[in-house]
Each structure stands twice: as structure tokens, then as C-alpha cells.
């Protein structure tokens, strides 16, 4: 190795200490900012989901309540149509309808 080469080898070794090194907090902050900027579609999807999720839950609750109501109503109607047989003193009476 010539003197010139030795000089630049040593220079390169010392110059490497001049490399800029961002600290971990800076790297994390920039990483978060990049994610913020590149994920607009995901944010939009999440926004829509956050709007539709309670709406869907509300509609489901209304549908469930309606179904239960209809079932009860149907049962009541069925019960009302049934005739009850009462036997008293040898005579049979039908109650209902």
C-alpha cells in the first residue's frame, strides 16, 4: 500500500465518524409520519367502517326486536284462537273464540 493509499484509508476511517445518525426517537417519529401519509385508503376504510358498524348494529337490533314482537304477537293470536273445554255437571262447555 502506498503512502497515498494509507493516507486515504486513515482519512476514510476518521471521516466515517462524521456520518449523521438520527436518534431512535427521530426515526420513530419520521416512520410514524410516513405511515400517516401513505395510509389514506386504510383510514378511509376505517372511517366508513366506523360509520357503518353502529348503523348496522342498530338495524340488526331493530330487526331482532321486530322478529321477537312478531313471534309474540303470533303466539298471542294462536293462544286466543284455542278453545278450552270445561266439563261441569256432565255438560261440556267450550270457552274461547
Amino acid at each position: 500500500m502506498t503512502d497515498d493509499e494509507k493516507f486515504f484509508e486513515r482519512l476514510r476511517g476518521d471521516a466515517a465518524s462524521l456520518r449523521y445518525r438520527a436518534d431512535d426517537a427521530t426515526l420513530a417519529r419520521i416512520g410514524a409520519r410516513i405511515q400517516e401519509q401513505i395510509a389514506p385508503n386504510a383510514t378511509l376504510a376505517e372511517l366508513l367502517a366506523s360509520w357503518f358498524r353502529p348503523l348496522a348494529a342498530g338495524l340488526a337490533a331493530i330487526a331482532l326486536a321486530a322478529a321477537i314482537g312478531l313471534t309474540l304477537n303470533t303466539n298471542d293470536s294462536t293462544f286466543g284462537e284455542q278453545q278450552v273445554e270445561i266439563v261441569m255437571g256432565g255438560d261440556t262447555y267450550l270457552v274461547g273464540d
Partner: protein, 183 residues
């Protein structure tokens, strides 16, 4: 140049499929280097961080055009280098002291002190800063970022011969300025 990191190739494929969170793997891997490259050109921590952020966002926006088999590092390096050189052009246009060759140290901010590890480092840094712009850029990439000629050529868009020429001139001037350093 082929990508010899299969994990990176898979991550790039996922990002191309729309997985934005997978991009974090590439950001974590290359962000320190990208900031360092930008800082080497603009010499300002705040600008370097903004440029690195901008480079990663642009790379993401154009990831569809990127060939999965290629390594991501040189590509993001070229993007940030172009952005940093644009900033320098902008500065030259609007700052008279740049044209007049005013002492470059005047435009350093306090954060630059972080990189000055010792007196030798300070002297080397000052000597590099006194070089003409392209020699300074090439010398910094070669000496500080420890890049080889081909890598510098790829990053800057200069030919290999031009890089060698700039570096040869830079070395001669640095030897002259720093001759006493290693006596």
C-alpha cells in the same frame, strides 16, 4: 442488480398488493441511511428528515412500478439524492452567499454538531466542505458514507468516470489541506 434479500422481496410484493403496514419494514431498514445521505447533501438535520420522509412517500406512491427482484436500497437512495440535489439547486438560486462561495459553515445548524465527534473529524469535515459542490458530494459519499464508485454513480446519476474524476480531484485537495493530519 438483483435483490439478494428474499424477505425484502416478499415485503415489496406485499406493499405492491396494498399492504401499507408492510412498508414499515422497508422504512425501518433504510431510514437511517436515507437520512444520512440527505444530510450529507443539505447539511441540515430538519431538511434531511423532511427529505427522507418525502422520499419514502414518493417511493410508496411509485412502488407499483418497482421491480420486486431489484434491491430497494439503491432506489430509495436515488430518490432522496434527487430530492436533496433539488434543494441545493433551490438554495443556489435564492442565496447569494452560495454563488459568492461564502464559507459553507455559515449555513450549518446546531444539530450538525452531533456529527462532529472530535477535532480530526471537524478538520476533515471543514476540508470536505471547502471542495466544489460535486467533488464535495462525491467525497462525502465515498469517505463518510463509505460508498464505492459504482454505488456513487448509481446514486447520483453520474458516470463511473465522472465519479472517479471528481474523487481524484477531491483527494488531491484533501491531501493538500490535511497533509499534517497523519504525520
Amino acid at each position: 442488480m438483483a435483490n439478494d434479500d428474499p424477505l425484502e422481496a416478499r415485503v415489496i410484493a406485499r406493499v405492491q398488493d396494498g399492504d401499507a403496514e408492510a412498508y414499515d419494514v422497508l422504512v425501518s431498514k433504510y431510514l437511517p441511511r436515507v437520512i444520512a445521505i440527505a444530510w450529507g447533501v443539505v447539511r441540515n438535520a430538519h431538511d434531511a428528515e423532511d427529505l427522507a420522509q418525502e422520499a419514502f412517500v414518493r417511493a410508496y406512491q411509485n412502488i407499483g412500478r418497482f421491480r420486486t427482484a431489484d434491491p430497494f436500497g439503491p432506489w430509495i437512495g436515488r430518490i432522496v439524492m434527487n430530492l436533496a440535489l433539488d434543494v441545493m439547486k433551490h438554495r443556489r438560486k435564492f442565496r447569494h452567499e452560495e454563488l459568492a462561495g461564502t464559507e459553507p459553515a455559515a449555513r450549518r445548524d446546531n444539530s450538525d454538531v452531533m456529527a462532529m465527534s472530535n477535532d480530526i473529524g471537524t478538520r476533515i469535515d471543514a476540508a470536505i466542505e471547502e471542495l466544489p459542490e460535486m467533488q464535495r458530494l462525491v467525497a462525502r459519499l465515498h469517505l463518510v458514507e463509505e460508498m464505492e464508485h459504482a454505488e456513487i454513480a448509481d446514486l447520483t446519476g453520474l458516470s463511473d468516470g465522472t465519479v472517479r474524476s471528481h474523487l481524484s480531484h477531491a483527494r488531491a485537495k484533501l491531501k493538500e489541506k490535511l497533509a499534517d493530519l497523519y504525520d
